[in-house]
């Protein structure tokens, strides 16, 4: 199990940031990803591994409308 934006989410072997974003259907382009507080650049999403128990933050940067 991992945390995604403070909530429990099932972890599976081989999970990457990109895989998580796809699973969660986080399609908004303008996001910030942090894994255990560490910023993950967009170009690393495909390969950046997420380990069981990690805390992932996916901040959607829209406070507009």
């Amino acid at each position: 199990m991992i945390k995604v934006n403070t909530e429990d989410y099932p972890w599976h072997a081989g999970m990457t940031v990109r895989a998580l974003l796809d699973e969660k259907q986080f399609t908004f382009r303008h996001i910030i990803v942090r894994v255990n507080g560490q910023f993950v650049p967009e170009e690393e999403y495909e390969k950046y591994p997420i380990q069981d128990g990690e805390d992932v933050l996916v901040l959607h940067l829209m406070a507009g409308g």
Binding site: T6, E7, Q25, F28, R29, H30, F39, H60, L61, G65
Partner: protein, 710 residues
């Protein structure tokens, strides 16, 4: 030319540090024209823009004043930063009046050239009071210090004809047209309560007038009631430092930095230069936020048909600068050129269509079940030229459609209109009726609150259902965001002072997706900070979009990326550089709160500004119908288990809907308590004398209103 009724000469005041120091007052009843001093007290307490508007309006009206009372005013002001040309989004005018939809002050912000040209003509604010007997137009010649009121019976009603004709009339030649701006409305505003104002700016590349709208709350209806056909301002000579700013080099430096961000980042972020605010249509649908068929659901597979790519590829001109004031590189005012109209009085003509903005595609598209870009553009055009607020029209028509499809009203009661979801031809005919003041269109133009009464009392509809599905608060229709899963945004809409418009706050991602504000106190903090911060744009003459529709590349490194701290600092720096003052970001919030609390007290004074007026229809909070519950049953059942410790397996559908409702309504009550505490209001939503004193707004006339209600 119509008969000249009044001429007035003046010496245009020299602008200093963003202010001309003068405001213009015109009384339509006796054609009185006066100028007033803008005092240091006004600048200190109200800053400008909406602050000045509300201050003048307060003194013009009484608690008994209604929208069509002669003493009601239309007041407009651009604010001290309005008209600078070095930063994006610096031409916003704020317009205020007592609204026909809400009976309280409405404020609406609008681009276009009128506000800046008005200030350069010598006027920080413009009050229009009284009523004319005949249709008139007011022409302000800012270069020569001349104001003229003339009869205007012979001009066309609809904006696309009227503004073109007046621009041609007052310009000396084609090149001079950019120096003209027209404020007018359209034929529907004579009959509907949701009339809006168009503010023109001439587009020299396309050689047509373009328009931005002061849309919300019926301002166009009031213009028509006062028999003002148009306001025209002419000022030749716009240049970078007409505001006589204190520190031009800082403004230049901040402006260059921002324009570089636009150049480097917009195509990677929101693509404002390509599509404008409609860039979010598919995002909203994918995140369950696109209001669909009267906010029943938050998206639809058919939304792809009105996606940004469709408008970019098939309809909107690309690669042409589209700013609604000089210097705006964000350039989001898009245009579909040579659009062929298929219905109504202008069928067969080709016209430019301004838009669609997000609210248009979401409201006139998804919320009506119309997933046809061509129909959306035609609706867009007719709303604009008829002077109809498309947000109120869309939300109101969506309500009518659901009432019809649920058997609450009949086709016969709608004069034969088959207003089922998706029938764009019926929607357009409703608009044309509204324009002519005929049939069901005239009734629909009254807005949801009055329609609920008519449907119940005259058509026998179910009052409880209509209360639940009629998306209005305080009499104003909701803007176009579904938000059932964001408690903070439920409050952001329903506790907004003028009614449910998202210009106070948009917290859905912070709340629903990011989970950044989990507690009531966190949400209340957000519902304090963001409304206060965003109010500020309307005080100084700025557009909100450049703040957060583009963010610096390193914004992610900041502690509070949602606030876009670097851009907030830009605003502090620009304010100080224009005015010569020395505020910081905390004082920026203080400037806003003074006006925000003033507006709340103003609403209390008008009889509608306490707790009972801050309740949303239940559809804002949760699923009203069985279909809505079933559309997200997995989510709602999970919430029953996790939040209420109930077993949905042992409950029938109606029991689950009822339990969900009890929980969500209780959550909303707790949110109200927290927000009221944070804003310094009583449990009944009244600002306290202590809070007003803390912010320097314990003015006797305000205390007189609130002290009996403590």
């Amino acid at each position: 030319m119509g008969t000249i009724l009044k001429e007035y000469s003046y010496t245009p005041a020299k602008i200093h540090r963003g202010y001309s120091g003068k405001s213009l007052y015109i009384n339509l009843s006796d054609l009185r024209i006066e100028q007033k001093e803008v005092t240091e007290f006004m600048k200190e307490k109200f800053t400008g823009g909406k602050g000045f508007d509300l201050w003048y309006l307060w003194h013009a009206v009484t608690p008994e004043t209604r929208w069509d009372s002669p003493e009601n005013e239309i007041v407009m002001s651009v604010g001290p930063l309005g008209g600078i040309t070095q930063y994006s989004g610096t031409g916003k005018t704020l317009v205020c009046s007592i609204s026909p939809l809400t009976d309280i002050p409405i404020d609406s912000n609008v681009g276009g050239y009128f506000g800046p040209l008005l200030k350069f003509s010598g006027w920080d604010a413009f009050e229009l009071q009284g009523k004319s007997e005949k249709e008139i137009l007011i022409f302000i010649d800012g270069n020569n210090g001349r104001i003229q009121i003339e009869e205007a019976e012979e001009y066309p009603d609809d904006t696309h004809l009227l503004a073109e004709e007046l621009t041609k009339k007052y310009a000396e030649n084609e090149d001079d047209k950019v120096n003209i701006s027209v404020v007018c409305t359209g034929s529907a505003a004579k009959h509907a309560y949701m009339g809006m104002l168009n503010f023109s700016f001439y587009d020299p590349r396309r050689k047509v007038c373009r328009y931005k709208q002061a849309a919300r709350g019926g301002l166009g209806t009031i213009l028509q009631d006062k028999k003002i056909k148009a306001l025209v301002v002419k000022y030749r000579g716009v240049k970078p430092n007409l505001n006589d700013v204190a520190d031009i080099s800082t403004i230049n430096k901040v402006g260059v930095k921002y324009h570089k961000e636009v150049h480097d980042l917009d195509h990677k972020q929101n693509k404002m230069r390509q599509i404008g605010t409609a860039n979010t249509v598919m995002i909203m649908s994918q995140y369950d936020l696109l209001p669909t068929r009267n906010f029943q659901t938050g998206g639809d597979p058919e939304a792809i048909k009105i996606s940004p790519e469709v408008f970019i590829n098939d309809w909107l001109t690309q690669g042409i600068h589209d700013g609604c004031w000089y210097g705006c590189t964000l350039s989001c005012a898009k245009c579909a050129e040579h659009f062929l109209l298929k219905t109504g009085p202008y069928a067969g003509q080709r016209v430019p269509v301004d838009g669609p903005e997000y609210e248009c595609a979401a409201g006139l598209g998804a919320n009506l079940g119309v997933f046809d870009p061509e129909a959306v553009l035609e609706e867009n055009f007719y709303c604009d030229t008829y002077g109809i607020d498309l947000i109120s029209f869309a939300t109101c028509t969506a309500f009518i459609m659901e009432c019809y499809q649920r058997g609450q009203i009949t086709q016969e009661q709608m004069g034969g209109l088959d207003l089922r979801f998706g029938n764009s031809q019926a929607v357009l005919e409703l608009m044309h009726q509204m324009s002519r003041g005929e049939g069901f269109g005239k009734i629909a133009g009254l807005g949801i609150r009055k329609l609920k009464k008519i449907f119940v009392e005259e058509f026998g509809a179910d009052p409880k259902l209509l209360q639940d599905i009629g998306m209005e608060v305080k009499g104003l229709e909701y803007s176009e965001y579904a938000h059932k899963e964001s408690l903070a945004q439920q409050g952001g809409f329903a506790m907004a002072i003028k009614g449910p418009q998202h210009d106070e706050s948009w917290l859905i991602f912070m709340d629903m997706v990011n989970k950044q504000i989990p507690t009531f106190e966190d949400k209340a903090d957000a519902l304090y900070y963001f409304p206060m911060f965003r109010t500020w744009f309307g005080l100084v003459g700025l557009c909100k979009l450049p703040w957060n529709d583009l963010v610096p590349a390193d914004n992610y490194k900041t502690d509070s990326p949602a606030k876009v701290p670097e851009h907030v600092q830009n605003y502090v720096d620009i304010f100080n550089a224009v005015t010569g003052k020395s505020i910081d970001k905390e004082e920026l919030i203080l400037q806003s709160e003074r006006v925000y609390q003033f507006q709340r007290v103003f609403s209390v004074r008008m009889g509608k500004g306490d707790r009972k007026d801050d309740y949303p229809p239940y559809r804002s909070l949760g699923p009203v119908t069985r279909e809505e519950y079933l559309s997200r049953q997995e989510l709602y059942d999970k919430q029953l288990r996790e939040l209420q410790k109930l077993d949905p397996e042992t409950m029938d559908l109606d029991e689950k809907i009822a339990a969900t409702r009890r929980y969500r309504e209780d959550q909303y009550e707790q949110l109200m308590d927290a927000v009221y505490r944070r804003r310094g209001w009583t449990e009944n939503g009244i600002p306290t004398p202590e809070r007003l004193k803390e912010i320097g707004m314990d003015l006797p006339e305000l205390l007189e209103v609130i002290e009996p209600k403590q």
